[in-house]
């Protein structure tokens, strides 16, 4: 076994780190305060290839692998969890399923603008009454000549506010539950799409979380993704891959908070010595780092399994669950090590704490991850 990153991955990690240090870290607080990732940063991330890391070069991607993608999301999230989830949702939840389930024409049409960042991608699964239970999808579609006509609503759509490209799940017969669901590629700038609101959230405030209404949205028949009635399978496969992205985001948030806590513990003096001299703080640091390292091993392993085209369902559930719980734990302890200053916005760990919480919830709550893992153990 070799736990070292390859030289190519190290080159990538260092390139992403340099970019993040200069282009994202200085504005991370502003992104949180203004609830907005500047368009200029999104464009720069597109130029860097962050938005098409593992998609093949023939479709405008960088042609790298899943591990490279995990490293990109991790490094970006060290500075800014909002920018991390932009990349993750865009790549795993939109470009990913189009690449995996799309026809050659669909890939050629939709992937290049996604990979360059010209269009930002999102995944329209969750509805007001269907979250973890995707079978309850109430958005419907019907055929009308060369089009499908979609009606319904979607909520909590990460990246929705960009009105770019979406992979949307809708049912042709709700009584069939998950067997009635089909996936579509939709252009969200089309007539019939209304943004009801962009949510005001506890964390990842720079990331759009959008509620949509669809009122006779007309989608050309050639935009059907995969077979009719197979949308649920597409959704489940997509979320599997997406979990690696969220694990990477959570890992990055934890590492970002840890770096600050470690540095602060060496600077801050109380009772005549740095607080890092106190065993109470030393033990916290040891526990935090151990959780981070275990999260990293699980996340990188899940990415490598996907690269090797092996089954990774259980591993992606485990890395998402463990890394997200590490993120909430480490950011909480990072605040504690900072004492009162940790509660102040300027020290940034409070933002990381707020950003961390969502990673236990989205792309399958951690309760759902435990169901996935235990089912596989007991089957």
């Amino acid at each position: 076994m070799n736990f070292e990153l390859s030289q190519d991955h190290k080159v990538l990690q260092s390139a992403v780190r340099d970019f993040v240090e200069k282009e994202i870290k200085p504005i991370a607080m502003k992104i949180d305060e203004e609830h907005m990732i500047p368009d200029a940063l999104v464009a720069k991330m597109g130029e860097m290839g962050f938005l098409g890391s593992y998609l093949p070069e023939e479709y405008g991607g960088a042609g790298l692998d899943m591990l490279s993608y995990a490293i990109v999301v991790e490094e970006v999230s060290k500075a800014c969890g909002s920018s991390g989830v932009l990349i993750s949702a865009h790549t795993s939840l939109c470009s990913g399923p189009i690449y995996t389930f799309g026809t050659e024409e669909q890939k050629k049409k939709w992937l290049p603008p996604l990979n360059s960042g010209e269009k930002i991608g999102c995944f329209l699964l969750t509805e007001p009454d269907a979250g973890s239970d995707a079978g309850g999808t109430a958005t419907t579609y019907r055929r009308d000549g060369d089009h499908f006509v979609i009606n319904g609503s979607k909520t909590f759509i990460t990246n929705g506010g960009y009105l770019g490209t979406g992979v949307l799940l809708a049912s042709f017969d709700r009584s069939l539950k998950h067997k009635g669901i089909t996936a579509f590629i939709v252009d969200l700038s089309s007539p019939g799409v209304t943004i009801l609101k962009n949510e005001n959230k506890m964390g990842i405030r720079g990331s759009y979380t959008t509620a949509f209404a669809f009122d006779d949205l007309r989608v050309p028949v050639e935009n059907q993704l995969g077979q009719e009635g197979k949308g649920f399978n597409i959704a489940m496969d997509t979320l599997n891959g997406g979990r690696i992205g969220i694990a990477s985001q959570a890992l990055g948030i934890a590492e970002g908070a840890f770096e600050r806590a470690l540095a602060y513990s060496k600077e801050r003096k109380q009772f005549g010595q740095a607080i890092s001299e106190f065993q109470a703080v030393q033990f916290k640091l040891a526990d935090m780092w151990t959780s981070i390292e275990t999260s990293k091993l699980l996340t990188y392993r899940a990415a490598c399994l996907k690269d090797a085209k092996k089954s990774y369902t259980m591993e992606s559930a485990m890395c998402k669950m463990h890394a997200s719980e590490t993120a909430t734990y480490v950011t909480k302890e990072a605040i504690q090590i900072h004492g009162g200053y940790g509660y102040i916005v300027d020290y940034e760990v409070e933002r990381m704490y707020r950003d961390a919480k969502i990673t236990e919830i989205y792309e399958g709550t951690n309760e759902v991850q435990r169901v996935v893992i235990s089912k596989m153990l007991l089957s």
Binding site: Q7, D8, K10, V11, L12, S14, A15, D18, F19, E47, M48, G49, F50, G52, S53, E57, G61, A62, G63, L64, S68, V72
Partner: protein, 258 residues
């Protein structure tokens, strides 16, 4: 036109440095490594010239050191160099600037490079000798610490930064060597697609022993951190006491009040 850029991989400056067991260099375990910053300016300028020249020109990046320096080479390839030479030498850190320069000049002498770029110095050893020594050994003109660079038809116009903020303009004809200083340019980030493309670029490997003809002219006798300074003295008490204490110390320990 053939261009060469020479780069060194150095420890990240945020690393914790400890002398090695021999006490002549630092202990390399647990260090993070990156491309010497001044060499990044050299790589960027070389790539800009390569882009200006277009078809028919070729930019080679060269680095001496153990296997890990391939990371720095790959970064330079991802930034835009065409191909690379890795001069393999696990003991590069113990060679003096004369030997390092001689390895490079021996490699370069029959390759007809029109222009060689280097950083003005390395961030770890900081001798600032390798670039100028290569030029001397190859018998080509050189200018150092450039902060501006233009090339037109065999003629280089370089801007140098001198003490006190004074700028100097130097003109020289190719073949030549320039050493690059902070302020010359802003190095580009290697993009992900270019990191992918760099994987297909050729890195030829040569053993340092095949190129080394020279004995060292200088050796490092000792390598150690500075002695720890005392923690200072904090005086306490009311103003009168403080003044008395201070006068006592100044009389006893300094020449100020004698």
């Amino acid at each position: 036109m053939k261009l060469l850029v020479c780069i060194k991989q150095v420890p990240d400056l945020e690393s914790r440095f400890k002398p090695n067991a021999e006490g002549v260099w630092y202990n390399e375990t647990d260090l993070a490594w990156r491309m010497n910053e001044y060499d990044e300016f050299a790589v960027e300028q070389a790539i800009r010239l390569r882009e200006q020249l277009g078809e028919g020109s070729e930019l080679t990046v060269l680095s001496i050191g153990p296997e890990r320096v391939v990371e720095a080479i790959k970064k330079a390839l991802a930034m835009g160099c065409d191909n690379a030479v890795h001069i393999q030498d696990p003991a590069a850190a113990t060679k003096d600037p004369w030997q390092i320069a001689s390895i490079i000049s021996t490699y370069a002498k029959d390759k007809n490079f029109d222009l060689i770029f280097t950083g003005m110095q390395s961030q770890d050893r900081g001798s600032a000798q390798v670039g100028v020594t290569i030029a001397e050994q190859l018998g080509i003109p050189c200018t150092t610490t450039i902060v501006g660079f233009e090339y037109d038809n065999g003629a280089i116009t370089a801007k140098r930064e001198l003490e006190g903020g004074i700028k100097g303009i130097v003109k020289l004809k190719t073949p030549a060597l320039v050493t690059c200083q902070l302020g010359l340019n802003v190095p580009r980030y290697p993009t992900l697609p270019n990191i992918m493309k760099a994987k297909k670029k050729e890195i030829s490997a040569i053993t340092a022993a095949d190129l080394l003809r020279e004995e060292p002219l200088a050796t490092t006798a000792s390598f150690h951190p500075p002695a720890k300074k005392g923690g200072g003295i904090v005086l306490e008490g009311d103003v009168g006491t403080l003044v008395d204490q201070l006068i006592g110390i100044l009389k006893e320990k300094t020449a100020v009040l004698r």
